[in-house]
């Protein structure tokens, strides 16, 4: 032991303090960065008397995993909720004002006032206009749903590109971590980068990670499909430009395996991709089926019957490209809601006559119900308005009552949608709370507390001062010695 060694230790202490200060300053700089993990510079004794600095990065694997899972499920839920909100607004309007159910009510009112004064052609026009509103609403609803599906399809394509990009960034970060670990240098920055990428990936697909030697990480989806192992696996998807009611969207393939589709209002999906598939293939398709059934119900309710019971029923007020025959019973005719139209025979704009609605005969004289030709004949109008309240068979595939009146069926369609929306809203609150809670817990575990860093800084200052003082003391001692020697 000598003064020189004391000087050496003091010097090293100065060096260590300087490095610790730089860690503190890095921590403070990143105090508000959610992807940053707190570093601490720990002194380790290596050889007797020698100390070295070891940079440690705060981690908590369990909390991190929880946070990833919560991120996945929250993102899926909020995607679903936003999609359902969007569909509700576009198809049913604010407060369901443009929903089929509301418009059928308006048609019933119009029929009632027409039936009270059947000789008044203005009221006939009014009834036909109310019917046209329904046909337009169904047409627009179909457009909105199919546009929505094709937008979702584009969003999926963009997200898939992003996922592939994230995976390739992950490859780079992962390589840096492996090299740093092998070389024994500080890999903290690369680890931060890698964790932040994992968070972003888990927003898109639910993942679990497996750590291997040299800090290498393998990513699989929660269902076990490999996303990344040494190199990223390919995620492929081919979007379809324009959607029709009959179009079936393509699956997202991860390493050749199709990604699962979520179901339910409180969705089973994790990650936005799966929720988008649910919107495109389940929610929107079911809604379309319901609109199609409403359209079919209307065509059937206003069908013309032969008063003599000989000829087959044919389309009346509402028709479709397959008219004058009626669409098949109790089966969804895909896309019918987009094709339903007012029969030109009763449409004055197309040269038709509105009074055919009152008298019958849209399909020729055999179907005329008003034989006397009286202008105040109201029986047929009553038949139509009663049919709107009479149960008919619906396709159970629409997900609603299989036997209901068209007015009830249209009401149930609203209930179905609002129930999904309610479930999605409730679930979204729960899942967002969990997401916030887990990120808060993770942040508390791995984040920076500025006060703590400041306190540490004070310690470091003291230790620096003490070391400096030590050097001065040794210097004085040495100079005392040297002057004695002179």
């Amino acid at each position: 032991m000598s003064l020189t060694s004391a000087l050496g230790i003091a010097q090293r202490s100065l060096l260590n303090t300087a490095r610790q200060t730089s860690v503190v300053s890095q921590n403070i700089t990143n105090a508000q960065n959610p992807d940053y993990s707190r570093r601490s510079a720990v002194l380790v004794s290596s050889a007797p008397g020698a100390t070295a600095l070891n940079i440690q990065r705060a981690t908590n694997a369990a909390l991190f995993r929880n946070n990833l899972a919560a991120l996945s499920s929250y993102n899926a839920q909020s995607t679903l909720l936003a999609g359902i909100d969007n569909l509700t607004l576009q198809v049913n309007g604010v407060d369901n004002a443009s929903s089929a159910s509301t418009l059928i009510g308006k048609l019933q009112e119009a029929l009632q006032s027409y039936a009270t004064t059947p000789s008044n052609e203005n009221l006939a026009e009014n009834a036909v206009e109310a019917a046209r509103q329904i046909a337009n609403a169904l047409n627009n609803g179909t457009d909105a749903i199919q546009t929505f599906r094709s937008q979702i399809d584009q969003d999926i394509a963009v997200s898939v590109v992003r996922l592939n990009d994230l995976l390739s960034q992950f490859e780079a970060a992962n390589k840096t971590v492996i090299h740093a670990t092998q070389a024994g240098t500080d890999a903290s920055d690369a680890l931060d980068k890698r964790d932040s990428l994992l968070k972003q990936i888990s927003e898109l697909v639910p993942i679990s990670t497996i750590s291997r030697g040299n800090n290498d990480v393998v990513i699989t989806t929660t269902s076990g499909v490999t996303l990344f192992e040494s190199i990223p696996r390919s995620v492929t998807f081919s979007p379809i430009q324009s959607y029709e009611a009959t179009t079936v969207g393509n699956a997202i393939m991860i390493d050749g395996v199709p990604l699962g589709v979520g179901h339910g209002g409180n969705t089973s999906a994790d990650g936005t991709l799966s929720a988008m598939l649910q919107l495109r293939d389940s929610v929107a398709v079911t809604m379309q089926g319901q609109l199609d059934e409403i359209a079919r119900g209307l065509i059937v309710s206003f069908a013309e019957t032969d008063p003599n019971g000989l000829l087959a029923d044919q389309t009346g007020l509402f028709t479709w490209p397959g008219g004058p025959s009626l669409p098949p019973d109790a089966t969804i005719s895909a896309g019918l809601a987009g094709l339903i139209a007012i029969n030109p025979a009763v449409d004055t704009a197309s040269g038709g006559s509105v009074t055919l609605l009152r008298d019958g005969g849209i399909n020729g004289p055999d179907y005329v119900a008003n034989n006397s030709g009286g202008a105040s004949f109201s029986d047929l109008l009553f038949v139509y308005s009663e049919r709107l309240d009479t149960p008919i068979a619906f396709d159970p595939a629409a997900g609603l009552d299989a036997n209901a009146s068209i007015t009830n069926f249209a009401g149930s369609a609203i209930s179905w949608l609002e129930l999904s929306r309610q479930q999605a809203t409730d679930a979204s609150e729960v899942k967002s709370a969990l997401m916030l809670r887990t990120s808060e817990a993770l942040s508390n575990e791995t984040g920076v507390n500025i006060d703590e860093e400041m306190a540490l800084l004070l310690d470091l200052e003291h230790s620096y001062e003490a070391s400096a003082r030590l050097i001065r003391a040794v210097d004085e001692m040495l100079s005392a010695l040297l002057s004695a020697v002179q």
Binding site: T88, S378, G411, R421, E440, N444, N449
Partner: protein, 348 residues
Amino acid sequence: MKISFVSSHAISKALSYQLMRLQSDLAKAQTEVTSGKYDDVGVALGARTGQAVALNRDIDRLNGMMDTNSLVATRLDATQEALTRITGEAESFLSALTVSGSGDTARQILQANGKNALETLTSVLNTSLNGEYIFAGVNTDVKPINDYGADGAPNKTAFDDAFLAHFGFAQTDAAAETITADQMLDFLDTVVEPMFTGPDWETTWSNATDQTITSRIALNETAETSVSANSAGMRKFAMAASLITDLLQTPLNENAREALVGRTRTMVGEAISDIQNVQAKVGLVQNRVSDASERLSMQVDIMTTNLGDLQGVDPYEASTRVNNLLAQIETSYALTARIQQLSLLDYL
């Protein structure tokens, strides 16, 4: 080694998340206070939203039905009033028939009375309301009764032809003097009466249909809400009045004329009781319509209450919530300011 650790990021995030939550709750509560119903009815009711939409629709529908019922009631009122005029006319005609003596002046007065009665009957039956002939059955865009006095009127021609065919000479022919009372009665019973009560009525006299206007007066209730000019009383009254108008101008002998007047007297008597029956029926329908409207308005009240229960919020509860939220937000602001000021730096 840390017992409990909190990161600066978590503190500031927690503050801002909570504030955001409070503010979004406040926005919802404010809408609820002003509108009196849930901010988002769909999310609040879920599967019951369809019920709320159906209630809204039914309320509108029933209100519409009450409006149409008032139209129907107007038509029934007009019908009732017209029928009262017809009975009044028939009664004064009947008294004219009863008091009529013999002699030329009396005959002329009675003839004028008959003509008057027929004109009144025709004009009342041809009453129109809002462009609809109310006695035309369902054929409301055509005048129901042909004017007997008009040139070439089909009913007048038919009668003249029938007279000529039966007696072999025209009404104005002096040979009419020879018609006996029995012959006259035979003519009235076998020829004239079938012309009015049989299908000829609809070709010569009336353009109305037997089918009358049916109206839906409540969700599951329809009623016949007009009277046809083809009803029995009208036919009999028209027959009596037209006989007196025509045949009192014919040079009949006293016996035949008395037989004629006697026959028409009974006929008008029957007509009056028939029309009064119709009036009673119209009265019943008027009652049904006003009852139906009353029931509809009660249903609307009940539905409105139901709808309020379903989608309404308690305004007091909502405004209390707004106040609480405002207080909470203020506290949160104060807390944020103080926590943000809290820094070790101030003490170093």
